[in-house]
């Protein structure tokens, strides 16, 4: 016997799996991303060096390319790559920049 052709539910191949929220729904299910920038012209982009070897070389190159597209660039550096960025540094980036690139290296 054939199975209903378009009733494969929400867990079929490739389709999103959807669950029903069992909670009071008083907290957001997920934090939405900020809207993407439409252009870099006149925007401030932060470049965060995480203090790994040669990360600065990569960011130098990135800075040149971003400036060529009309962006302002601010450089930041974490004290060490082994720990999360200090709160003050994160706050400064959040207040001054429209976007941020966090560079890995090695």
């Amino acid at each position: 016997m054939s199975r209903p052709s378009d009733t494969s539910g929400t867990s079929g191949n490739g389709s999103p799996r959807v669950l029903l929220d069992p909670t009071s729904e008083s907290r957001p299910a997920s934090r939405p991303r900020l809207p993407r920038l439409e252009s870099l012209e006149g925007r401030t982009v932060g470049l965060l060096d995480i203090s790994k070897a040669r990360g600065d070389l990569f960011l130098d190159e990135l800075e040149a390319r971003l400036r060529a597209q009309g962006a302002r660039v601010e450089r930041y550096k974490k004290p060490t790559f082994t720990k999360p960025a200090p709160v003050d540094l994160r706050h400064e980036i959040a207040t001054k920049c429209d976007a941020v690139v966090e560079a890995l290296a090695d």
């Binding site: 209903p4 029903l20 929220d21 069992p22 009071s24 008083s26 299910a29």
Partner: protein, 482 residues
């Protein structure tokens, strides 16, 4: 999805819904040809788009048309005017088909009447999936979409929904199937669940019941348990917040125990029975997820107890010498009920030597005296679960439940010299001002007696309560409604 939810309009004229896997549908194929010659006719087929071929059918293998138009049997013949159904007939009945179609002399070679077959859209195996697909608007809970690489079991842990054990993912399909266990509307408010006092719908209870592992037929028990737990008398907020090791204990009485396969015998408080293990857990998950009551937050228990995951059992009424607990609490015979009790873990009472009821009552009393502390009186209720072998002693001696309760009450009178603070070199106790009083261990209604457990073992068990009365929690009985 919205296309699926919208009801597809039926074309004007005659509409027939059929499937190949139905002898009556095969039988009426010549009649359908006859009708197609005389009138505008649309045929929908549920299983084989090639059936009947002549006349050519519309493909309803998705069952969208059948589901939305509530086709219950095939063949169904409908008459539609301006998109509105005027009339329908189920199965083959020449007189009815002729009256509905206005065409005379249908199927002269056929018998006058043949019952139809079940529509695929009401097939119990397919119905929950179809309801999820086409009736999704009836479920109002927020949809939580999982990322492609997210493991669904881990995702539920990560969102804080779990009590520590794995959960059954609450998909729309499963929640629809769960809601099939009750006649109540999905959006009906069941209770305001502490500690956040959030209005909780039947749907939210169903979602948590799915996660707990319940079958749909358990849902009415879970709903009654949620109602009972969320009363002022039961005081779920206080019971959750207490530092004492107590949580809701659900005792099920009445015919539903057997109907849903609850264990009343061997290992009655233990593992291995799906109904008991999941009904108690569903209540616990409702308090956790809807009410927002979590350990370390509002739940401040010093120790807790393993039964706080799930503690639900049914009484062995058939083997009992006495009327069930529900009758003691005022339920009429034959009704199915839950009784909510604020209980700690069960503790064993061993007595393998007493053969007369007086000896055994004394043995039970000396154990009951120790509940929470032998010098603390009147503040706590208790469930006494009498095992079948102990119950036999009382049955053979003709002791009623009331006689046992009265005798235990007499045996549990404690003189002030034993219970005041400092007595026996123990600081804990009642105020010195009560030294001249004699007080009972339990208030008159504070000893609840049930019969359950396996047939071998001269044991009983006691389940101690939390603070009773206005200050704490009262046992609450609730009838289970379908």
């Amino acid at each position: 999805m919205s296309d699926a939810i919208e009801s597809p309009p039926l074309p004007d004229g005659l509409v027939a819904v059929v499937k190949r896997d139905c002898p009556t549908c095969e039988l009426v194929v010549p009649v359908l040809r006859q009708l197609a010659r005389e009138k505008p006719l649309t045929v929908y087929t549920q299983d084989d788009p090639g059936f009947p071929g002549d006349p050519k059918a519309q493909d309803d293998t998705s069952l969208r048309v059948s589901w939305h138009h509530e086709i219950e049997a095939v063949p169904t013949l409908l008459r539609v005017e301006s998109g509105v159904e005027q009339q329908r007939t189920l199965g083959w009945d020449r007189a009815e088909w002729e009256a509905l179609s206005g065409v005379a002399g249908l199927g002269p070679e056929l018998p006058g009447f043949r019952p139809g077959c079940g529509s695929r859209s009401v097939d119990p195996d397919l119905a929950p999936r179809l309801a999820a697909r086409y009736g999704a608007s009836k479920l109002e809970a927020r949809r939580v979409e999982l990322a492609e690489l997210e493991d669904e079991m881990e995702a539920m842990y990560a969102r804080g929904w779990s009590d520590g054990l794995p959960l059954v993912p609450p998909t729309e399909e499963r929640v629809h199937a769960m809601l099939g266990g009750t006649t109540r509307d999905a959006q009906e408010e069941v209770a305001r669940v502490p500690p956040d006092l959030v209005p909780c719908t039947v749907e939210k209870v169903a979602i948590n019941a799915v996660m707990a592992g319940c079958k749909p037929e358990y849902l009415p028990v879970v709903l009654a348990a949620v109602e009972a737990a969320c009363t002022d008398a039961f005081n779920m907020h206080g019971l959750l917040a207490t530092t004492m090791p107590t949580g809701p204990v659900i005792i099920v009485n009445g015919p539903i125990r057997r109907a849903i396969g609850m264990n009343t015998g061997i290992n009655v408080f233990g593992q291995g029975s799906r109904a008991g293990a999941t009904i108690g857990r569903a209540l616990q998950l409702v308090v956790r997820n809807v009410g927002g009551g979590r350990p370390g937050e509002v739940d401040r228990a010093t120790f807790g107890n393993p039964g706080k995951l799930s503690f639900c059992f049914a009484e062995d009424e058939e083997g009992s010498p006495w009327q069930p607990l529900s009758a003691d609490l005022g339920a009429s015979p034959g009704t199915s009920t839950v009784t909510l009790f604020p209980g700690e873990a069960p503790r064993s009472i061993v007595d393998q030597l007493s053969r007369d009821p007086e000896e055994l009552a004394r043995s039970l009393a000396v154990n009951l005296r120790t509940l929470h502390h032998p010098k603390l009186l009147l503040a706590f209720d208790c469930i006494l679960a009498v095992g079948p072998e102990h119950a036999r002693v009382f049955r053979e001696a003709g002791w009623s439940k009331q006689k046992l309760r009265t005798r235990l009450h007499e045996l549990l009178q404690v003189p002030g010299s034993e219970f005041v603070r400092g007595a026996g070199g123990i600081a804990e106790g009642l105020p010195e001002s009560l030294r001249d009083a004699t007080l009972p261990k339990f208030r008159p209604e504070g000893l609840l007696i049930v019969h359950c457990g396996g047939g071998a073992g001269l044991f009983s068990a006691m389940i101690g309560g939390w603070v009773n009365g206005e200050m704490g929690s009262q046992p609450v009985l609730r009838e289970i409604r379908p």
